[in-house]
Amino acid sequence: MTNDTIKIEVDGKVLEARKGQMLIQVTDAHDIYVPRFCYHGKLSVAANCRMCLVEVEKAPKPLPACATPVMDGMKVRTRSKLALEAQKSVMEFLLINHPLDCPICDQGGECELQDLAMGYGRDVSRYQENKRVVRDKDIGPLVQTDMTRCIHCTRCVRFGEEVAGLRELGATGRGEFMEIGTFVEQSMASELSGNVIDLCPVGALTSKPFRYSARTWEMSQHPGIAPHDGIGSNIHFHVKDGRVKRVVPAENEVINEVWLSDRDRFSYEGLYSNDRLTAPMIRDDKGWREVDWETAFAMVRERLGPILKSAPASVGGVIAPTATLEEIFLFQKLLRGAGCGNIDHRLRYLDFSDQDAAPVFPWLGQSIAELEQLNCALIIGGDPRKEQPLLNHRLRKAALRGARIMMVNPASFPSNYPLAAELSAAPGGLVRAVAGICRALAELKSDTLARESWLEDVAVTDAQRRIARELANPGRGTVLLGNLAASLPDAAALRFVAGQLANLAGAAFGYLGEAANSAGAWLGGAIPQRGPGGRPASRSGMDAGAMARNGMRAFMLYQVEPEADCAAPDQWLTALRNAECVVSMNSWITDAAREYAHVLLPVGVFAETDGTFVNVAGAPQSWRAVVDPPGEARPGWKVLRVLAETLGVSGCDYETAKEVARDAAQAMAGVRPENRAAWRALVRLPAAVAGLQRITTVPMNSADALVRRAEALQQTADRADGALHLSRATAARFGVLDSGHAVVGHDGQALTLPVALDDAVGDDTVLIHGGNGLLATLGPWFGRVTLKPA
């Protein structure tokens, strides 16, 4: 027993507690239930609902357990006459203005107010007067308000300030007229806004997409893993009549704590979009038609079979990093079994030149929870707030503790915590900007690195020196590469320079992670040079860039929508259109697929299949299917199994997804995440690209096929808008400041697009959103562009 530990007595039981803890924390830890509305373990103490009143010996009146620090020898009674009467009275006050609309309230059945009214309230109301009515506010497409039901616990207000870092909701007015709302009607902009639905103890804030579609007790709850960023947030599917009705977070302290990003919460809607592929389809001289599975497989055997047999090296296989580990493992096993080594998942890469030196899988370089303990972090080429919201949440916690978080980006992405430094660099100059920091740090530390040839012609600015000084401070540091960094045309050089910088700073080197299963795709062998577990592949093959550039006789695609998912969409579309045979396994059908594909095989996605995702910290997490895929669609691993059989590839005849996972796990056994081996040394830095350049970021709600079809999320601002984002200064220089629209030219192609003025975008930079198939003709996501008034 340390001297930090004290003893208190609650309801006659002696409990150990730590000094400074609040009474409710101690009773919670010992499973003694004290009712509460405003208290929440992850939020500050407000003590404004008064529901947790308990009797404390020697105190003249009941005290709120959430705001009463424990003291040695304290004697507490949570169920005494005094405590119960106090709780009952508070309950009566809370119910005075609360409507009796439980039968039509979505919260009914999972409502804390309902439960506590049952447990602690009177069975009749003595209140005869009129109840107050509060007008509802429209706070966006995700959260529904019924503010008359609000009991003013202020959890949602505190969440905005303390967790989301964006104070959007507040308590306006006073006394009887106090209301929770935004005051000025506007949409909540936080990427974590949906969490207020879980936090709200009553039905004031509920899910808008779910509204009135099921009663809580009709649904069954099943565990799952969130399918978008690489965090692997734990979720629960709520299912009724074979349909996913909603998704809520499941608690996992080391991954998502109790939170969930809006994208992970609402993307299930994409399962029910009306462009689902529900039957196998084939294209012959009469056009597209739906067929049965046998006919579809026969067509694959007939069209793809001979090519795969006679010239396996002329077939390309691309699988999205949103596919499950089982699907990835089988996909590569099928292709490698047929003698084809052209396998890749890196749709958003433009630079593959350092792939032989790549780590087994690029990972975070630390655990997710460790991000909170950082003293210093440098984020290069990424927008973690939108791309990895819950990693950003950990970084934010570190920042509020005093950590120095810094960014180097071609555009200034709005942060929800103060940054210690922000360096803006043109996309073509990002490598040099980081090299400048590297040189400054080497000079500061008198390290021999400063004399290396690749740093020779690098100039150092004061801003870079400031960042270097921060990195030189003692404490836990990290250098993190984001999604934009991975997509750059000179990404390999950036990886090298950033790695050197991390090494020099004694900081952990990590990647923020792209898709739900990017780590699983590396580990499962969906890269040309390595098989599962990072072992050298039996036969090497072409990377995604080479496949698109060179064109292949045939392609096998898995959950890929090249027009939106690939960093070189035009090249991909051309390569696919020119191929003799394209077999696409997908959950949705697109106009582009109708043009390039010959066979479409419908597969289940997300909740419709058993699967495993490996998260950015290297943790594999599995889930079981909770609903059936629509129509004739089948889980992907089953389709791949039959496809292997059809094509005469042995060793893929698994009976269950679990067996596939077991083989994949066996292949991956013993792999330790390690980023440092990844660097391919440079002799010279790439020359900085001058002139107007395009950069591409993928808004969080346009990142993959599922979320692009989630209706409510598509009404938020975080979706690809098809506009040219550029600063006023850049716009003025090219004469498009007032033109509204401008013609952007790239690679001989031109498109007329609306101009969106945004001074956060750096000089000579045009930011265009990726994940938008309509802009596919514009060519690769990065490079020189021209601009003129429309």
Binding site: L166, R167, E168, G170, T172, G173, F183
Partner: protein
């Protein structure tokens, strides 16, 4: 953002706010919010528009909603246009016992507006007073443009109201 706020707030208002800011630690700029709103409201004919509230928020580096909360909480701050002269009758316990309710009823009738409203000609705002105005010894009382009038009678009230231009 602060640039836009500079444009919206008058030079005089900014000067006043800066004087208040000097009284507080540099990392607690929000402490000046009440003084800032009072000054800005004074310059704007007695009420605060959303635009002005936003400008104060940006100027002080506060979330906008936090300024809205302050502006809607305090009864001396108005968020809708009101009449030129502010008339508030204390209706707390001492004044009530001395007939404040009759005074209120008389004023409402004479001005033709309910408490909380302004006369159509924009002359007088009959304010809803939330708190005791701390002149219990002279009740019933009312405050007209920051000036206390005590021991009110109907005639005195008429004279005071008629004197407002």
């Amino acid at each position: 953002m602060i640039e836009d706020a500079r444009k919206t707030l008058s030079k005089h208002a900014r000067h006043e706010i800066d004087q208040w800011l000097a009284k507080f630690p540099a990392d607690q700029r929000r402490s000046a919010v009440l003084a800032a709103l009072r000054e800005v409201q004074h310059e704007n004919g007695g009420w605060l528009s959303i635009e002005l509230l936003d400008a104060v928020a940006d100027y002080l580096g506060m979330p906008k909603i936090a300024v809205y909360e302050v502006a809607t909480f305090y009864s001396m701050l108005e968020t809708k246009p009101v009449g030129r002269h502010s008339v508030s009758v204390c209706t707390n316990i001492s004044c009530m016992l001395r007939g404040a309710d009759d005074i209120v009823a008389h004023i409402e009738k004479r001005l033709g507006v309910k408490t909380g409203g302004s006369t159509p000609d924009g002359r007088i705002h009959l304010k809803r007073e939330e708190e005791c105005l701390a002149a219990c010894c002279g009740g019933p009382m009312m405050m007209v443009d920051h000036i206390y009038h005590e021991n009110l009678t109907v005639d005195r009230v008429n004279a005071i109201l008629d004197g407002l231009k």
